[in-house]
């Protein structure tokens, strides 16, 4: 397919890689919203061009990643305040391609009910499958979806976890294709680890997931953190590639939610309000 015409999808910022992916004299190609991009290293920056038109696109480096847009974003890139804290470590966990709508990836990220069954003995245990009630809201002032007071028993909550813990989660959908969670830090109960998923939607049903962790963890090696997240994400990838339809349906009748899916219900409602079309199953559009 060629570049989408969906203005809601176009007018937003997307991650297309890490600054280190682009070396001098070795341009790389990336796909975004159905368009081919070329990324080149210039004297002091990275230049991103849309291949079909030759048009130079806006670029910024934020949160350790390279961002660009094919449209005209109506607001600046969302803020992640924890990136101002110097004692945190950022570990980008490697781009992983998934044959699914990026919106499906966000929903999977928001879902706690799958922990015991997909991430058995890591993020959940099969004998403790209950999702306790939590709060969820569309925050109009920042135009984001938040789920708060989420709690889940986790046998191994992070690379540096030493035994199980009751993890407190806050989920934050900062934009339709970018989602974060704040989670009790196993090594410092007063602080929260930040885990995020920046999604580069290549096609409506093909996405590249740029997962990262931004943690207070003086113990684990960088590689141990990356491997932990890769293991967890590979368990998700397998489930995501087998979900049908690959695009996200918004009709309340298309898939049957339970109470544990409150965050997903709010997310879908929010997407519908925005009028986003890219990555959405439009067969049931009402």
């Amino acid at each position: 397919m060629s570049r989408t015409t969906d203005p809601v999808a176009l007018d937003d910022w997307y991650v297309v890689g890490l600054p280190g992916d682009v070396q001098a004299g070795r341009p790389v190609t990336r796909r975004l919203l159905g368009a081919d991009l070329t990324l080149e290293r210039t004297a002091d920056d990275v230049r991103v061009t849309e291949a079909a038109s030759g048009r130079a696109l806006p670029v910024q480096t934020a949160y350790g990643h390279l961002w660009t847009t094919l449209g005209a974003p109506k607001r600046p890139l969302f803020a992640i305040e924890e990136f101002a804290e110097a004692d945190r470590r950022l570990a980008p966990c490697g781009a992983v391609r998934v044959r699914a709508s990026g919106l499906r990836l966000v929903e999977n990220f928001l879902d706690m009910a799958h922990f015991p069954f997909v991430h058995t003995d890591i993020l959940g245990a099969e004998d403790k499958p209950a999702v306790e009630p939590y709060d969820c809201e569309i925050r109009r002032d920042v135009d984001e979806v938040w789920a708060t007071n989420c709690r889940f028993w986790q046998p191994q909550a992070a690379a540096h976890a030493d035994g199980g813990q009751m993890s407190d989660y806050i989920y934050r959908v900062a934009s339709p294709f970018n989602v974060l969670l704040y989670k009790t830090c196993p090594s410092d109960a007063g602080r929260q680890d930040v885990i995020g998923l920046f999604i580069q939607p290549e096609e409506e049903d093909v996405s590249v997931a740029h997962a990262f962790v931004h943690v207070v963890d003086a113990v684990s090696s960088h590689t141990a953190i990356v491997h932990f997240q890769q293991t967890v994400f590979l368990q998700d990838r397998f489930i995501l590639e087998n979900q049908r339809p690959r695009l996200l349906p918004l009709s309340p009748r298309a898939e049957t939610p339970t109470r544990a899916d409150m965050s997903s219900i709010a997310y879908r409602r929010w997407l519908k309000e925005k009028g986003l079309r890219f990555g959405i199953d439009r067969r049931d559009a009402a």
């Binding site: 391609r97 990356v226 491997h227 890769q230 990838r237």
Partner: protein, 215 residues
């Protein structure tokens, strides 16, 4: 440390590598204890670096280090584990036709199945591939395995080299079971699917992310 005071062997490991999974699986089936040294293959590119090349000049994982012995190839590690940790000798038959058949299918794993690993890492992580049609080559290899297992079934043999599993089965299993990661779910390979079920039923079997439970 082991009871006799010697250090445990070390597996230089990457969770996503099919070869590393083969070693983890073989070690688990044989009850071999080891330490893991994690290698940041992607996105870190650690296998390209000088420190790793000093350990394994081939620049690949898995690497098995046991005292002065450094083994840098999956098939060789599997053979080593079977030769030194399996008193029954069943995992690496030393006699007659069983020996030859085991080596034959070990060689198949080494020659034909890297295509599947290449297709998988390309589909998953966009890692560069030097092959023109890795997925196609992988499907051909899967078909050859399926055909062979159909012939084995005629003789009442459920595994690649005979009636019981050998290192050859363990060398082939990861690439086949992880084929779903590049979209090959073995729909047209009923014998291969049944064989993956027999392997998953072995005592001591361990899984890795991506191995389907529905095959």
């Amino acid at each position: 440390m082991r009871p006799d005071g010697s250090a445990l062997p070390v597996l230089h490991d990457w969770e996503l590598s099919a070869g590393c999974y083969a070693v983890r699986l073989m070690a688990s089936l044989l009850g071999v204890a080891y330490h893991k040294a994690l290698v940041d293959v992607h996105p870190g590119g650690e296998t390209e670096g000088a420190a790793f090349r000093a350990l394994n000049p081939r620049g690949t994982v898995p690497v098995w280090v046991e005292g002065p012995l450094v083994i840098g190839d999956t098939v060789a590690i599997l053979g080593h584990l079977a030769a030194t940790r399996d008193p029954s000798g069943a995992w690496l038959p030393r006699e007659g036709a069983a020996f030859a058949r085991t080596l034959d299918w070990l060689a198949f794993a080494a020659r034909r199945l890297p295509a599947a690993d290449t297709a998988r890492l390309h589909a998953m992580a966009g890692l560069a591939t030097g092959m023109t049609d890795a997925a196609g080559a992988a499907r051909e290899a899967f078909r050859a395995l399926d055909d062979h297992l159909a012939r084995q079934a005629v003789d009442g043999h459920g595994f690649l080299a005979g009636p019981t599993p050998t290192v050859a089965d363990i060398a082939c299993f990861p690439s086949v079971a992880l084929g779903v990661d590049f979209g090959e779910a073995l729909e047209r390979s009923p014998k291969l699917r049944a064989w993956t079920r027999r392997i998953r039923a072995l005592p001591g079997f361990v899984t890795t992310p991506g191995v389907p439970e529905f095959l």
